[in-house]
């Protein structure tokens, strides 16, 4: 019983930038946290049951064969009354999380903006470049139904979208990412330390950092390293830099730049280039460009690591591909389906990481044990939001040596 209950919203560690929730605002998040778990846990299996007991049999009668793609399953499932109701509930829960987060943030926006300005002026962690344009894939829709996306705002220079992203992520993920929503970044640090105990990266680049949830743990885990966290969205960076300063982190900088053009950095500059839950929010056109830039700025022998939900691949059953695709069509993630369908290894190979230098490993969020006796396990996976990821990695070839030979014997975190 105990295992099923995440901590109340009010028990989470609060950093100084975190907007203050009123009693009822916190309660709404408590409701949504448990409701999201209910949707994926208690009744999520209804989708599969509906598929197996009536959608698939009907499909076979009509077409005289099994479905051949996740797309065919989606079209058929969208007619199923249970799947429709389940999707309507889930979409509404996402929208309610946004509205509640925005009420919290907007009613105290004057204070939040002032606090962010003060932190950023004092810390020097923020470097904005107004000439950086928002790519079309970041502005065509508001990704995961966040009004304003990562880049918009209510007025010039505000922190609305960053603050709203931070204040409600706990509810969206059913509490699976830990108190500071940084369970993924911490798991990656744990993985690196387990696999390369003596490695001391000096320069780390995090591409598409948003508010730095998973970049800050790198700075904390490697205090001698200099972390550069880039994003195109100033509104998220403003909040992220202030959040990091509030947490007392000094070896990180939040820089407005696009991964498509890293010309501000020389070749072979970083020991480690990281992306976390980033590739699926790009486009087929930009992804190879960004990977090529990542390869260029990475030192020979350096580490490239992409943390993502698992790629689909030919071995993944079509039904699972379909349910993992839910967010693409119902939660404004337009590149999700195509990205998870590509052969990422081939794309990385093209960007300059030979197949025998690549590896795939599992990463699982490690939320603070005192607050989170247990987080949802694999059986209750909330596809698309679970705290279990794959890391698609590579060590950049080293002209001369065997440093890269470790690629095959990774210990998964």
């Amino acid at each position: 019983m105990k295992d099923k209950i995440p901590p109340p919203y009010t028990a989470l560690q609060r950093h100084p930038m975190m907007p203050q929730a009123s009693h009822d605002e916190a309660s709404r998040f408590n409701f949504l946290t448990l409701f999201n778990r209910y949707l994926s846990g208690e009744i999520g299996r209804g989708n599969r049951v509906a598929y197996e007991t009536r959608v698939l049999p009907a499909f076979k009668v009509i077409h005289g064969r099994e479905p051949e793609s996740r797309e065919e399953i989606r079209v058929a499932m969208n007619q199923d009354p249970f799947h429709r109701m389940w999707s309507a509930l889930k979409r509404n829960s996402m929208e309610m999380r946004q509205q509640n987060g925005r009420q919290i943030v907007l009613r105290q926006l004057d204070e939040l903006d002032a606090k962010a300005r003060a932190f950023n002026a004092a810390s020097g962690l923020l470097e904005l470049d107004p000439s950086v344009e928002q790519p079309v894939y970041a502005t065509c829709v508001d990704i995961h139904c966040q009004p304003g996306g990562y880049h918009g705002g209510e007025r010039e220079g505000d922190v609305t979208v960053g603050a709203n992203y931070d204040v409600g992520l706990f509810a969206t993920t059913g509490g699976a990412l830990g108190s500071l929503n940084d369970g993924g970044g911490q798991a990656v640090v744990g993985w690196v330390k387990a696999n390369r105990p003596d490695w001391q990266p000096k320069r780390i680049l995090d591409v598409g950092c948003t508010v730095g949830h998973n970049a800050v743990p790198f700075a904390q885990g490697f205090p001698d390293a200099e972390v550069t966290a880039i994003d195109t969205a100033a509104a998220s960076l403003r909040y992220g830099a202030a959040r990091a300063a509030g947490l007392g982190v000094t070896n990180i900088r939040f820089v407005q730049a696009s991964g498509e053009d890293l010309s501000r950095f020389p070749d072979n500059h970083f020991d480690w280039v990281q992306t976390t839950m980033f590739l699926h929010e790009l486009s087929a056109e930009s992804m190879p460009k960004i990977l090529a830039e990542c390869a260029r700025v990475l030192k020979p022998g350096g580490l490239l690591l992409h943390v993502e939900q698992p790629q689909y691949g030919p071995d993944m059953p079509l039904y699972e591909q379909f349910i993992r695709d839910w967010d693409a069509y119902n939660n404004n993630e337009p590149f999700w389906s195509a990205m998870h369908g590509v052969d990422l290894k081939a794309v990385m190979a093209q960007a300059g990481f030979p197949l025998d230098h690549q590896f795939v490993t599992g990463v699982r969020a490690i939320p603070d044990k005192s607050l989170f006796p247990a987080s949802p396990d694999g059986d209750e996976e909330d596809y698309g939001r679970a705290a279990i990821w794959n890391a698609y990695g590579a060590w950049k070839p080293n002209q001369d040596n065997g440093l890269t030979s470790g690629a095959k014997k990774e210990i998964s975190a």
């Binding site: 209950i5 009010t10 009693h23 309660s27 408590n30 208690e42 429709r84 009613r107 105290q108």
Partner: protein
């Protein structure tokens, strides 16, 4: 409180991007939004009531500040979490039973009515 912005109106900003229609009748989509929001509001009200009871029990008096700043300890947090789960299970009973019925379908009860009335 934020001055220049109508924070109530702006909180409800719509996310850019066409919203999928889940039902053939638009009114059903709206009813789902309405029912789930009301469910969340009642959940918050029930937690508030629990807060009031705990504060009164502990100190015999109330202030609105004490309510706003109340943070349940681990034990109280767990009790409230369990109560919330039970509440969700009650509200969602129809959906849960529908899943169970799909898993173990029964024939319509009229079949039995007919069978049992045969001599």
């Amino acid at each position: 409180m934020t001055q220049e912005i109508d924070w109530i109106a702006r909180s409800g900003a719509r996310a850019k991007g066409g919203r999928p229609a889940f039902f053939d009748e638009m009114a059903v989509d709206r009813l789902f939004s309405l029912a789930l929001s009301l469910t969340a509001e009642l959940a918050a009200t029930r937690e508030r009531l629990d807060t009031v009871e705990r504060l009164l029990e502990a100190q015999g008096s109330l202030s609105r500040d004490a309510i706003e700043n109340f943070r349940p300890d681990m034990g109280a947090g767990e009790e409230r979490g369990i109560a919330m789960r039970a509440y969700i299970a009650r509200v969602m009973r129809g959906f849960q039973q529908e899943v169970e019925a799909m898993e173990n379908p029964d024939p319509p009860v009229t079949d039995w009515v007919e069978r049992l009335s045969r001599g």
